[in-house]
């Protein structure tokens, strides 16, 4: 293979795969360029989410008690189940890439369907959690007129939000701005990911991918794993930070 890459006569005409674009020497070069491009995009994504993690770190260091109080209102069971769902979907995505690489189309399609279903399950559970926050007046500001943010401590107690010592409601509201911004952007990435998976599914049913050409499966896999990683950090930072103070 190395000889082919270095050989001046190795043109796309000589070793043509129907998916090979004219500006690449061969399929391997095309695949590596695609993967590299996806990683560069993921760097910009890391910086984008990094900005929100920065805001989180800053406000949590300023309002530790309020962040712990607000976090304790999140449903740890739903959060943990969702973490499991997302990890499982990352696994099935990795398996989809694997089956494409070895050219087994049926299990490849099955893995893509599973990944898509798990992704949608995650979004469904997230929706249940968002609805709980809506019910308990924890959507920041007046974004939703029928459910403005908690006005006073009595109302907070009534809705199951217990303020730890030193916490105030405006600070709790800050936590929820950050919570909705971060989980909302994460959910948007999941929705886009579900769209991309649908595209992959259609193309793999059409039989477009084979061991030589599977860059789309590989790079969308990279994106899907990245979204999983963001959640791996969001789960402990948003759901677990104040649990050890609950019983004190």
């Amino acid at each position: 293979m190395a000889d082919v890459i270095n050989s001046p006569v190795a043109t796309s005409e000589a070793h043509g795969h129907r998916a090979l674009q004219h500006h690449f020497e061969n399929m391997e070069q095309q695949r590596e360029a695609g993967t590299l491009g996806m990683w560069v995009f993921l760097v910009t994504e890391i910086m984008f989410f990094g900005g929100m993690f920065l805001a989180y770190t800053l406000y949590r260091s300023k309002f530790p008690a309020a962040f712990a109080s607000a976090s304790n209102h999140l449903d740890i069971k739903l959060g943990a189940v969702n973490t499991g769902v997302l990890i499982l979907s990352s696994f099935t995505m990795a398996m989809a890439v694997y089956f494409t690489q070895i050219g087994k189309r049926r299990p490849q399609i099955l893995c893509l369907i599973l990944t898509l279903v798990l992704g949608l399950t995650f979004l469904g559970i997230k929706g249940v959690e968002y609805h709980d926050k809506y019910r308990d007046h924890l959507i920041p500001g007046q974004l939703i007129a029928s459910s403005p943010f908690l006005k006073n401590e009595a109302e907070a107690q009534h809705h199951g939000l217990h303020l730890l010592e030193g916490a105030t409601l405006p600070q709790v509201e800050m936590f929820y701005w950050i919570y909705f911004a971060m989980t909302g952007m994460h959910a948007l990435h999941m929705i886009i990911g579900a769209g991309l998976l649908t595209f992959l599914l259609i193309y793999s049913i059409k039989g477009r991918f084979d061991p030589e050409y599977h860059s789309p499966v590989e790079v969308i896999g990279l994106y899907w794993h990245f979204v999983d990683i963001v959640w791996i950090f969001l789960f402990p930072l948003l759901y677990l930070l104040g649990r050890h103070l609950e019983h004190g």
């Binding site: 399929m27 990683w39 760097v43 890391i46 800053l58 943990a80 499991g84 070895i102 677990l240």
Partner: protein, 99 residues
Amino acid sequence: MSEHIVPVRIYVTIFLVLLVGTALTVVAAFQDFPWQLNTIVAMTIAITKATFVVLYFMHVRYSARLIWVIVASALFWLVIMFALTFSDYWTRGWIPSAY
């Protein structure tokens, strides 16, 4: 094709490691560790999990040097962003200001 195909056994192992990591982080969150140890434990587990995903699910362990450079550059700029921002916020009030 010189592409490395990661064996299924490794994918299953990583999946189980990630599940155990999730369980550990939940259990650890309910322990009342001194000082900031709760956060440190949670972040250590999260970083470990993320590293496994990047190395194996995302194939970086078997990828070209160029991919390693790209991943490292992301972390490098992330550190710059955090370091410069907190060098401001953490040091505010250290010196009395006239304003």
